[in-house]
Amino acid sequence: MEPHVYRNSANRNFYSARSNFMSRLARQFQLTPISLRRWENFKANRRGYWSLWIFVVLFFLALFAELIANNKPIVASYKGEILFPVLIDYPEEKFGGFLAVTDYKDPLISEEITANGWMLWPLIRHSYSSSNNDYPRRQNQAGECLGFPSPPPWASNMALCQSPADQVARYKTIGNRNWLGTDDQGRDVVARIIYGFRISVLFGLILTVLASIIGIAVGAIQGYFGGMTDLVGQRFLEIWSSMPYLYILIIISSILIPGFWTLLFVMLAFSWTSLVGVVRAEFLRGRNFEYIRAARALGLSNTTIMFKHLLPNAMVATLTYLPFQLTGAITALTALDFLGLGMPPGSPSLGELLKQGKDNLQAPWLGLAAFFSVAALLSLLVFIGEAVRDALDPRKTFE
């Protein structure tokens, strides 16, 4: 808590030469005592702290989803040549096939490669878009072979359909297992959850960051200048925020094909308003502080005052809102996907998985997997949000 004041007189001369540089450097990385105390408060909330770590680890892993769940080997060696199929699409001609992009799970190709080298597969040998052709399907009591969705192997005691021995052997390989079953197109549920998690979180993060930047800027301008600027801004906000954005999204999605960025910008257009009020209130309150007046008396420009003196005050309120904004953005994307208005068909998405669960009530693994992953993701974020809110609570900080 004691910022570098050099008490030790023996070291003093040594330090004084560099103290300027050092202290400048230190200041860049040093938390102010208030922030430090808030961080301590955050850590004291075990649930929030652990949630943050779990979330960070999961998100980090999901960023490298291609190395965890993919239908291509990470590294392969073929006839003495080291190949990186995850990064580079090799034509099948290379291995004696004819397709433009190699299907490494094709028995011919994989036998060809293993005969002339080796392959290092990811943990899960399915991508979000690949269907598992090796799954022999299940048969019901009447002996009929059922189609997809197929249950997880550990959760079903139905017999497998008759299949060639080599296909069953491939199906039984650990990496080829569908731990949470497959969806209605034979795609691996685990792979789709991993990729879906990544898209949800990335979407939420980008939306939150962009919405915060716009919201803070608008709120800051309204609050700082007040008067007519504020009045016009507030009326505009009232009109803008009373527009039903779900309907507008439905209309837009009938004109444009909704992709990641279209969705993001449409949602951004309506979600930036939520921070304006908070930031505006903080700036309205703060602009009459005596240190703001002092700064004006020193001749600082409006922009400098806003960034240096007022923004840090508004950041507390903003930070408190951020995790909940993130949660809201993820929920919104999930809801749109569930309604079929979200990401284009085929993209991995938690909402789309929920929809499949609803459409295939005979396959409860779909609904349950989607439900638990959405619930876990949102719970983690809410726990983090709660801890942030409590850590920034001035009554707790300054008691």
Binding site: P3, F289, L298
Partner: protein, 546 residues
Amino acid sequence: MSNTSRTLVQVRNLSVDFRAGQQVSHAVRKVSFSIKQSETVALVGESGSGKTVSAQSIMRLLTYPAASHPSGQIFFHGKDLLALPEAEMRAIRGRRISVVFQEPMTSLNPLHTIEKQVGEVLRIHRGLGTAAIRTHVLDLLTKVGIREPEKRLNSYPHQLSGGQRQRVMIAIALANEPELLIADEPTTALDVTIQAQILELLQDLQAELGMAILLITHDLGIVRKMASRVYVMKDGGVVESGATADIFANPQNAYTRHLLAAEPKGAPPQADESAPVVVETENLRIWFPIRRGFLKRTVDHVKAVDGVSLKLRAGQTLGIVGESGSGKTTLGLALLRLIQSEGPIVYANNRIDRFASRAMRPLRKNIQIVFQDPFGSLSPRLSVSQIIEEGLLIQKPHLTFEQRRQAVSKALGDVELDPDAQDRYPHEFSGGQRQRIAIARAMILEPQFVVLDEPTSALDMSVQAQIVDLLRHLQRQRNLAYLFISHDLKVVRALSNYVIVMRNGKVMEEGTAERIFNAPQTEYTKALLSAAFDLRATHASSVIND
């Protein structure tokens, strides 16, 4: 000590600890004092001495369980209040012991009418009916000197002035004719003339109702006027106690002597009538329009400052004196061009009242301001060096980091602070030290003209004296021109060559400090002086505006 009347409250070995996380602070350590029936006892001390905490312990109003009492008993009629169950305690609060707080702005609920707030204690403790409560409330409001109480029953707190609000607080406290009234800095937030009236009211009511008063204050003038016995507190302990007259005449403890000697003293440097004029205004007006109706037409103006002319020479101090709402702070802000005004403002032969904010910027280094509240005027998020160097970054951008750092060190040295402290944060400093930092921020730009807006009002008496000495020293050293804004006439007398007395935006009287203080001409100035120096209320119509 005479023992003619019975002891009402006996506090023995009271200690109060506050716990925040792992840290425990000992706010009060083994304090003992007693209050007899119908007497006034004062707890005196500077901020942080534990006087308020001790008094609130009697009512058990502290934030338990963060606060705790490791030792002590408080006997009230033979019962230990600290050991009393909460239900019995509630029957005592507001009925037999009641309290008046410092801040009349926040101690009344803004959403309830006066009748409801005064009537509440009657309803709770006596269970009276609506009609009976109304008669009682009217009676009480008359007693505390609120004129036309029938009209005030349905008023909300914001419709009353500060003095009236404090009268309502006293009415609430006295509603059940308590045996002990705890008055916690009851007049600190009020103007001097109102302060004198409130103190007189408390004395009258005490004579009429015969309650004991525990007066908590930092102002020795009030103690001398009100209290029969004094306990002097410092760092959570009582350092000296005794009859008021004895303590004032013959203080035993060094700290008490220090307190008694702490009033701002001395005289300003001799005024040189031929010094160059630094700032001059002619008929300066700051009118805020009152707009009504759909088209927002201006129907009238609030005349915050109405036709003030002043002339300030280098090396001299012009004191602006007035009560709250007199427009003195507005005047200071206008001279700095921080708010719009009409009328010429001439700074160093430039008419700056039409300058755009960009044109003002280079002049800013010559014109600086120091504010009242040393806690509000420093950004809590910046280190001391960041705060002080801020002006340099704008005004002297060619300085290197090293040069700025040296300048900050020197500025801190000039205000008698340790230059090594520049990497600390404001919250690590006391009020007086923070005010020195604020002065350093203004002085580092080497201004010629400094507006001092109540720079000592938020500080303890002995710290006030030090700040006044510092300001006088800096003035002499740098030939500074000060515009000193204050409601505290003692400080004004210690600093000013020339004084302007303002009221409701107009100049009531102006002249050399000597003449104003020794031979005031107007009734208003006379009333102000007698209220400030003798705590004597003047019930002339020229004064009462509440």
